[in-house]
Symmetry: C2
C-alpha cells in the first residue's frame, strides 16, 4: 500500500535492516528509528508506519509503560533517574521518553535536556530520549505529540526495554494524554504539596494511579509527611472513585527521596502490585485495547488532515481565490470551505 | 454548489423568505434561523451555510461584538442584564448569546437559563439566546461551539442588533475562544477577586481588554476597591504587553454594581473609547479579518472531518476489517489508518 516514491530514502531492505538492528538492541538503530518516527517530512511517514508494523509483528513481551508527571520543582527528573538506576539493579532495561506538549510554543526541547539524568544516560541498559521539538502540523499539539510517543514506546519495547517511562514536562492537559499512553501513571509531589494539590485541576486528581512525595529527606521529612496526608485527604474527598483507569479505585500515596535513594523499593513494589491487580481483573489488557482503539482513531483524523493540507498546497490558485472571496465577505466561511472541499476532492 | 437533496427542507424560496423576515427584524425568523444554525442534522448544514452567505451580502453596519466572561459567582448574568438595559436606554438593540463549551459533558443548557435575564428578555429591542446543547460531532467541543457562535453573531447583526454580547459560561480555555469571536472582551470579577485572579491561568490575564469588579455596592464596596487594585497590580506584573488583541496594551480596571446600576455608564464609555482607539489604529478591522481567516480554516478542518465520518459510516464492513486487524496487532494503527483512508477516498 505504501507508495514507492515515498519510501525513496528507506527501501524495504533498509527498513528490514533497521528493524533487525533495533530488535538486536543496537542503540544506534533505536536512535535512528526514533528520528524517523519524529521526522516532520511527510515523505518519511510511510516508512515510519511500515517500520511500526514490522516491529509489532516481531514484538517481544510488552514492557510496563509508566507515565510520570508532577509539579515543576517536585524533582521529577531526579526521581526518574533514581528509580531508573534502581530498576537497572533489579535486572531491568529502562527507556525514558520525555514528552513536551508545549514544545510548539517554546520552539524546542527544554534547556538542560542534555545534562538531565546523566547517570542513567550513561548505562548500557538504559536509554534516555529528550522531548522532540515542534510537532503537530495539524495544530493539535497534544495529539501530534501523543501518537508519535506511542510509536516511540513500541520502538523501545522492540529494542528490548522492558520498562518504558514516559515523562511529561508539560502541565494541565498533558496528564490525561500521557495516562492514555501508559499502563500506570505516577504523580510526583514536592513536600510543599499543598500548592501542587491546589494547582491540580479538578479531575486531574483522579488520573494518577499512584502519588509519591519526593524529597522526603532531612529537614523536609516532616513536610513531606504532611504533604502525603494532605494528598490522602484530597483523595478521600474526591471519593476514590473507580474509573476505567483504576478499576479498584485504589490510589496510594507514598514517600520517597531521590537524593537518599529511599522509598524506591516500596514505590516499585506498589507499582508491581497495581499491575498485578489490573492483570487479575482483566483491566490491564482492556486499557491497552482501548488505547489502541483511540490511537487508530487519532491516526485517522491526523492523516485526513494531512491529506487536506497536501491538497490545499497543490491547489493554491483555487484556494487563494475562494479565500479572497471569504475574506472580502462575498462568501460565508462555511460555504467557502464547502466549495473548496468539493473542488479539492473532485479529482 | 449546494446539492439539491440536502436542502429539501429549505427551498431557495423558503431561505429567501427566512432571510427577508430576519432582516426585517422579526424575532421568530431569528429564532428559527438560529435553530437551523445550531441543528445537528448534517442535511441542515448546506441550507445554514447558504443562509449565512445570503445574509452577509445584505448586511447592515456590523455590530459591536462584546465577549463577557468571569469567575462563577461574579454576577456575570446580572451585570449583562443591567448593562443590556442601560444600552437599550441609549437606543441600542442588544442580543445576548450564551456559549457553553462544556455543554457536551453536562448534556444541555445550564439550569435556570429560562429565568436568566428576565427583564432583558422581555424587551422588544433585546434578544437573549441560551447556550445550545451538545455540539461538536468531531469531538472538538470548543471548536464546534465557536463557529456556530460566529454564525449566530452574524444572524443577530443581520436582524439589526447593533450590540451582540457573547457570554461564556465555561471556564479556562473558553476565554481565548470567545475573545476570538468578539471585538472586545470583558472579564467580570467579584469583590473577593483575589481568588479569581489566582484561578486565572497564566496568559488568561492578557486576554481581556477590560476588567470590571461587580458588586461594588454597600458593605462590599471596600472589598471591590481592593479587588480592583489587586487586579491593577496583577496587570502591572504581567507587563501590560501590547498584543494582537490589545495593540496599545491598555487594559482598564473598573468598578460597577449591577444591583445599584452604578458604573455602567463609565464601563460603556471605556468600551466605546477602546473601540475608537482600535479603529484609529486600524486594529479593529485587522482583528476581524484575522478572525474570519481562522473561521475559514476551522470550517475547512471541521467539514473535512465530517466528510471522513460520513465515509466511515458508508464503508462499515471495510472499516471493521481493518479496525480488527489493528486491534489484534496485525497492523500498526498508523498503517491501518493509511490503508483505510486510501480505500475511502479511492471512489
Amino acid at each position: 500500500m505504501t507508495r514507492s516514491r515515498d519510501v525513496s530514502r528507506y527501501s524495504d531492505q533498509a527498513l528490514q535492516k533497521l528493524s533487525d538492528d533495533l530488535m538486536a538492541g543496537k542503540r544506534r538503530a533505536l536512535s535512528k528509528a526514533l528520528t524517523l518516527i519524529e521526522s516532520h517530512a511527510p515523505s518519511h511517514r510511510p516508512a515510519a508506519l511500515k517500520l511500526i508494523s514490522v516491529l509489532e509483528k516481531g514484538q517481544r513481551a510488552p514492557a510496563l509503560r509508566l507515565g510520570i508527571s508532577g509539579a515543576p520543582g517536585a524533582g521529577k527528573s531526579t526521581l526518574i533517574e533514581a528509580l531508573g538506576l534502581f530498576l537497572l539493579e533489579q535486572g531491568h532495561r529502562v527507556a525514558v521518553l520525555a514528552v513536551d506538549p508545549s514544545s510548539r510554543q517554546s520552539g524546542g526541547s527544554l534547556l538542560g535536556d542534555k545534562t538531565r539524568m546523566e547517570q542513567l544516560s550513561c548505562s548500557d541498559q538504559a536509554f534516555v530520549r529528550p522531548a522532540p521539538s515542534g510537532f503537530s502540523p495539524d495544530g493539535v499539539s497534544l495529539g501530534g505529540v501523543a501518537f508519535r510517543t506511542r510509536e516511540s514506546i513500541l520502538l523501545c519495547e522492540a529494542a528490548g526495554y522492558d520498562i518504558v517511562i514516559v515523562e511529561t514536562v508539560g502541565v494541565g492537559q498533558s496528564e490525561a494524554a500521557v495516562a492514555d499512553l501508559t499502563d500506570l501513571f505516577l504523580f510526583v509531589l514536592s513536600p510543599g504539596a499543598g500548592d501542587d494539590l491546589q494547582n491540580m485541576k479538578k479531575g486531574v486528581m483522579e488520573i494518577p494511579d499512584c502519588f509519591v512525595v519526593n524529597k522526603a529527606d532531612g529537614a523536609l521529612l516532616p513536610f513531606a509527611r504532611r504533604a502525603a496526608s494532605d494528598c490522602r485527604a484530597a483523595l478521600q474527598l474526591s471519593g476514590h472513585r473507580p474509573s476505567e483507569n483504576a478499576p479498584s479505585g485504589r490510589r496510594s500515596v507514598l514517600l520517597c527521596s531521590a537524593l537518599e535513594k529511599s522509598g524506591l523499593d516500596l514505590l516499585w513494589q506498589e507499582l508491581q502490585s497495581l499491575k498485578q491487580e489490573r492483570l487479575d481483573l482483566g483491566a490491564f489488557e482492556e486499557r491497552r485495547l482501548q488505547q489502541r482503539q483511540r490511537w487508530f482513531e487519532e491516526e485517522l483524523r491526523h492523516q485526513t488532515m494531512e491529506k487536506l493540507f497536501t491538497k490545499l498546497d497543490a491547489a493554491e490558485p483555487a484556494v487563494e481565490k475562494i479565500r479572497k472571496a471569504v475574506l472580502e465577505g462575498q462568501l460565508g466561511p462555511g460555504q467557502g470551505a464547502q466549495e473548496l472541499l468539493e473542488l479539492l476532492w473532485k479529482e
